[in-house]
């Protein structure tokens, strides 16, 4: 279970998160939406300790993340898969080595036979052919890079998956493929997921609950139907603007 309470974060003069409360129950998928620069990725990075809050509490499985010692934090991170916005694949390594790095257990990481099987399995889960294993990230398309990023995140069999805008920059077909994948991983692996996204349509398809981060704070956290029916002007403005642009694109 992930619980953020009263989280505050500022960079210089700019307040990015202000008394943010956010909760994710085991086994559910929560979509975190909001305008660009509203602090969604910053919030996500607090969950696996890449950023520390200036005030407030961030708890994962009852552990207070900001106070964890180095070793404890490294251990916690093996339970949290993180999918970066642009994949963040290591340029100098091929797909196999990139995904292999996600294997959390060091003895399994060093066992080449196990690693090969595990990488193949993870690539299958993200709909990639094992032949792609020897390719470098530069030889992959944007959608494939994102899928390799997801494969790396699930290689260590994490309990939680954090997605940072997994569909941004993708065409609608590839965005749908990623959305399907998120849903399938939740069902097949039973992971708890938090997905930061701009894509309202995708969020409604994938998430059990949706949250809107606006003006440095969470203004609404609700199931899809309740979220869609909300009369909050900030929620309405966000949804309608996005629906407008979607219908325009269609």
């Amino acid at each position: 279970m992930i619980v953020l309470s009263g989280v505050r974060k500022r960079f210089g003069e700019q307040v990015v998160l202000d008394r943010v409360n956010f909760e994710v129950q085991e086994g559910e998928t929560v979509a975190l939406m909001g305008p660009s620069g509203s602090g969604k990725s910053v919030l996500l990075k607090h969950i696996n300790g890449l950023l520390r809050p200036d005030a407030g509490s961030v708890k994962v499985d009852g552990l207070e993340v900001p106070t964890l010692k180095r070793q404890q934090l490294a251990e916690l991170r093996t339970r949290i898969g993180y999918v970066f916005q642009n994949g963040a694949l290591f340029d100098s390594m091929d797909v196999f080595e990139n995904v292999r790095l996600g294997i959390a257990d060091d003895s399994k990481y060093r066992d080449l036979d196990y690693a090969r099987d595990r990488v193949r399995e993870c690539l299958r889960l993200v709909n990639l052919h094992p032949d792609e294993m020897r390719k470098l990230p530069a030889q992959l398309s944007g959608g494939m890079r994102k899928r390799v990023g997801i494969a790396r995140a699930i290689a260590g069999a994490p309990k939680y998956l954090l997605y940072d805008e997994p569909t941004s920059g993708l065409d609608p077909v590839n965005a749908d493929v990623i959305d399907e994948l998120v849903k399938r991983l939740e069902e097949e692996l039973g992971v708890t997921s938090v997905m930061v996204t701009h894509d309202v349509r995708g969020a409604f398809r994938v998430a059990d609950r949706l949250a809107l981060l606006y003006d440095s704070t969470i203004v609404l956290e609700a199931p899809p139907e309740e979220f869609r029916a909300s009369a909050d002007p900030r929620v309405r403005a966000f949804l309608e603007r996005d629906f407008d642009s979607t219908s325009f694109a269609a």
Partner: protein, 262 residues
């Protein structure tokens, strides 16, 4: 209205605070590196690959520069001392100049540009494209994966390249001085041996190891702390080369004072 001295005082205060912040972050990085040494299975193979890369990639420029520098040293020494000293003295002057100063410092400065810029740009790009965050989020130590291999590679390979440079420069100096002065091989060898102390080789090596370690550590630090996209990568690359060069010159004076005059 602010007092007239507020501006300079504020500037000095900011300068000192920024210097202290750099020192603090560098100390934290060094602590990370020391902790990371326990994961030898990670850094050892990467260090070997990095050393081969750095050594092989820098060899051509090192050979070029050392050959030209050795030849010019010999020609200028020959020009200055063509009639005032016995010919054999030139053997000592050329070898000592190259081994004590020219080899380590010149090659150190060249490698500060070549290796330092590369390390800072690589790590800076990894930082702005979130590859370093990705490594941390996988529960892996950036120190043992990225920093130790680079610092070790430059600490080991700079001395190796300096030894090669010393040999090539002395050879080029030997040939060069024979072209312009009536000096025999025997004169050159006699002069070189007469003024040679075994400590000279150690001194050259100690300097090279210090310069290599400084280049690796400073450029990794600069790259690791890159901010603000492509512009940030450019800034940290420039800063890595400038800071490494300045530290090499400072270490050069410091080591000369400590090792030659204490």
């Amino acid at each position: 209205m602010p007092a007239p001295f507020t501006g300079p005082v504020r500037f000095l205060g900011r300068f000192i605070l920024s210097g202290l912040a750099h020192l603090g972050r560098l100390s934290l990085l060094v602590a990370e590196v020391i902790r990371g040494f326990a994961q030898w299975r990670i850094w050892l193979p990467r260090s070997v690959a990095e050393a081969a890369n750095v050594g092989g990639g820098s060899l051509f420029i090192v050979l070029m520069i050392s050959a030209f520098a050795g030849a010019v040293t010999a020609l200028q020494a020959g020009y200055q001392w063509q009639s005032s000293l016995p010919a054999y003295v030139l053997g000592g002057v050329i070898v000592e100049t190259i081994v004590l100063e020219l080899g380590p410092v010149l090659i150190g400065l060249v490698l500060a540009g070549r290796i330092g810029a590369r390390y800072a740009a690589e790590l800076g790009t990894m930082r702005v494209t979130e590859q370093i965050d990705a490594l941390e989020s996988l529960g892996r130590s950036p120190a043992s994966h990225l920093i130790i291999p680079r610092v070790l590679a430059s600490t080991v390979m700079v001395p190796v390249l300096v030894v090669i440079a010393d040999v090539v420069a002395v050879g080029a100096g030997w040939i060069g001085v024979k072209e312009v002065l009536p000096i025999t091989d025997w004169d050159f060898r006699y002069g070189a041996q007469y003024f040679w102390r075994s400590f000279d080789a150690w001194y050259s090596l100690i300097k090279a190891v210090s310069f290599g370690c400084a280049i690796g550590l400073i450029s990794c630090y600069m790259g690791f702390n890159t901010k603000q996209g492509a512009e940030g990568v450019g800034k940290s690359t420039t800063a890595a080369v400038v800071a490494s060069s300045v530290i090499i010159l400072l270490l050069n004076v410091l080591l000369a004072r400590i090792l030659l005059h204490s």
